[in-house]
């Protein structure tokens, strides 16, 4: 078991870090020679890399914020008692079940500039005057990526938060109802504070996923620098440009950034949560 985990996780990671210090190329991995930090220096001097870093951060910040807000709203809806609740939950699960590549293609077709249904509907409603090239224009492509990611992953967030909502103690709400506390106050004074741990889990899961996004970007907008994320940049260097050293360096940096964010986030959450439980105890 441990051996397998080491084979598929730790060893490849260690080799990636080693390759990042060499001049390896795709077709001759054996002939790699140690070059120190040259790859990292080249990376830091490459404006495309910095563009990819900024793209990844923007994508992560905006999409995770939207997903958590929207997911919370859907979770609250699903938590209410109403007749078609099961059907709604089933409908919400559909985007989650669809493979990322398929959802990228579906949205690419819907957002297509000439024949896309999104443009057709918006034109009919008079929202826009002329068709828009959603995925081709540099400013809109990132917005399109975020929209597709939000559509695809909000269900996961909603389900996580729904599980959290269902574990909230009912007596708090009963007491609030007896005291005549308005619904909005209930939400901000009871639901939100009690949901902090579940929210913290959902947010970190989504941040980690969004930081390493590859397939959606690769399929929807390809290797265009305007939307390229760190993972897409790294793969382009590794495979398309056959520069194993530089690609590995990019992958290593992405790994380090993600590890750093995780550690900082976990420390911040733990501090806050433990601070709160000390107050409560």
């Amino acid at each position: 078991m441990l051996a397998v985990l080491a084979t598929v996780a730790l060893w490849p990671l260690a080799r990636t870090i080693w390759f990042s210090l060499t001049d390896a190329t795709l077709f001759d991995l054996g002939a790699a020679a140690y070059v120190g930090l040259d790859n990292f220096a080249a990376l830091l001097a490459d404006p495309d890399w910095w563009r990819a870093v900024v793209n990844t951060l923007v994508f992560t910040a905006v999409s995770v914020t939207l997903e958590v807000c929207l997911g919370f709203a859907i979770a609250l809806t699903l938590n209410a008692q109403f007749p078609a609740r099961g059907a709604l939950r089933a409908a919400v699960l559909i985007p989650w079940a669809i493979p990322t590549v398929v959802s990228a293609k579906m949205w690419a077709w819907m957002l297509q500039d000439v024949y896309g249904v999104v443009n057709a509907v918006l034109l009919q409603l008079g929202v826009i005057g002329a068709p828009i090239a959603w995925t081709a224009s540099p400013d809109l492509a990132m917005a399109a990526l975020i929209a597709v990611d939000v559509w695809k992953t909000t269900p996961f967030v909603a389900l996580l938060l729904l599980a959290g909502l269902q574990m909230l103690p009912a007596d708090c709400y009963e007491a609030a109802r007896v005291d005549g506390v308005p619904a909005l106050t209930q939400f901000f004074r009871i639901t939100l504070p009690l949901m902090k741990p579940a929210l913290a889990v959902a947010v970190i899961f989504r941040i980690l996923d969004a930081m390493r996004i590859f397939d959606l970007v690769y399929v929807l907008t390809g290797n265009t620098p305007q939307t390229m994320t760190m993972a897409v940049y790294a793969r382009q260097q590794l495979i398309d440009f056959q520069d194993f050293g530089r690609g590995s360096a990019a992958a290593t940096l992405l790994f380090l950034i993600i590890a750093l964010i995780t550690v900082i986030y976990m420390m911040a959450v733990r501090l806050r949560l433990s601070g709160r439980s000390e107050l409560a105890g």
Binding site: V4, I94, P99, W109, V201, F214, S248, A251
Partner: protein, 276 residues
């Protein structure tokens, strides 16, 4: 009274909006997949005539049947390997007290946070050395990185919640370790095994980065790569009808599976996250 009716209408509108938002893109893919020729450029929201030409074209213009078979094989082998490794491991982690147990569990969690791209070059090397480049087994092997952490994690959480008394009773009654595992533990764990197995299947079925990088020929491609690489006669005109037909073919079984097992899948998804 009027306030209550209004509130009901508002709530129903919210529910309807969520359903349309969630379902429409897939609905639209289905509608498009039934239109061929010039009809495909219609933006009428109702399907009209059902035309199966795209479905025929998907299978004749590329080895799509072969791609589906590849995906099935890769996903099945991945699930089998993951469960074979994860069930004993979760028993050890959930039942046996040993030093470093929590460190080990934490290691699994940490691995699930690895970005795939960070192991891509190392994995490429391993697969090449093992002679598994452009082979399906190489994909299954690399997918263990994605499936093992959460299968172990979810199964361990489930194992901890199982009452020990049942096993103890079986041991007192003289059950051999083999009987204990096959007749007592596995049936008890069946719900969790089904849930994690399905999640692992979906993960392997949908994976794109490794499948794109570790296969070369169109005969060894899995479904996501095949769909991503469908291209038309000219580089500018994508055969959207074929792409949508292929998308519907690979997604419908998945959606059906997910809807059938939705309770277990939701439980499996959230158990891994919340209990951790």
């Amino acid at each position: 009274m009027i306030g209550r009716v209004l509130r009901r209408i508002a709530f129903a509108t919210v529910v309807a909006a969520i359903v349309v938002y969630a379902v429409f893109p897939f609905y639209w893919a289905i509608v498009t997949s039934f239109r061929s020729g010039q009809a495909i450029f219609s933006t009428a929201l109702i399907p009209g005539r059902i035309d199966l030409a795209n479905y025929a074209a998907v299978f004749t213009e590329q080895p799509f049947g072969r791609n589906i078979l590849n995906s099935l094989v890769v996903a099945t082998v991945t699930v089998a390997l993951s469960l074979l490794l994860a069930v004993p491991a979760s028993y050890a982690l959930g039942r046996v007290a040993f030093r470093g147990r929590s460190v080990l569990l934490f290691a699994f969690l940490a691995v699930s946070m690895f970005p795939q791209i960070a192991v891509l070059s190392g994995m490429f090397e391993i697969i090449q050395r093992l002679g598994l480049y452009n082979r399906l087994l190489g994909l299954s092997l690399s997918y263990l990185l994605l499936t093992l952490p959460f299968t172990v994690w979810v199964l361990t959480a489930f194992m901890r919640d199982l009452p020990r008394e049942i096993e103890e009773a079986a041991v007192v009654d003289g059950a051999s370790p083999f009987v204990l595992i096959w007749r007592v533990l596995l049936p008890l764990m069946a719900p969790a095994i089904v849930a994690t197995g399905l999640l692992a299947f979906i993960a392997a079925w949908n994976e794109f980065l490794f499948a794109l990088t570790f296969t070369l020929s169109s005969e060894t491609r899995t479904v996501p790569v095949a769909i991503a690489l469908i291209s038309g006669a000219t580089g500018y005109e994508l055969p959207w009808g074929n792409i949508m037909a292929a998308s519907v073919i690979v997604t419908v079984p998945l959606v059906v599976l997910v809807l059938i097992f939705q309770r277990r899948i939701v439980a499996g998804l959230t158990a891994g996250a919340i209990k951790g």
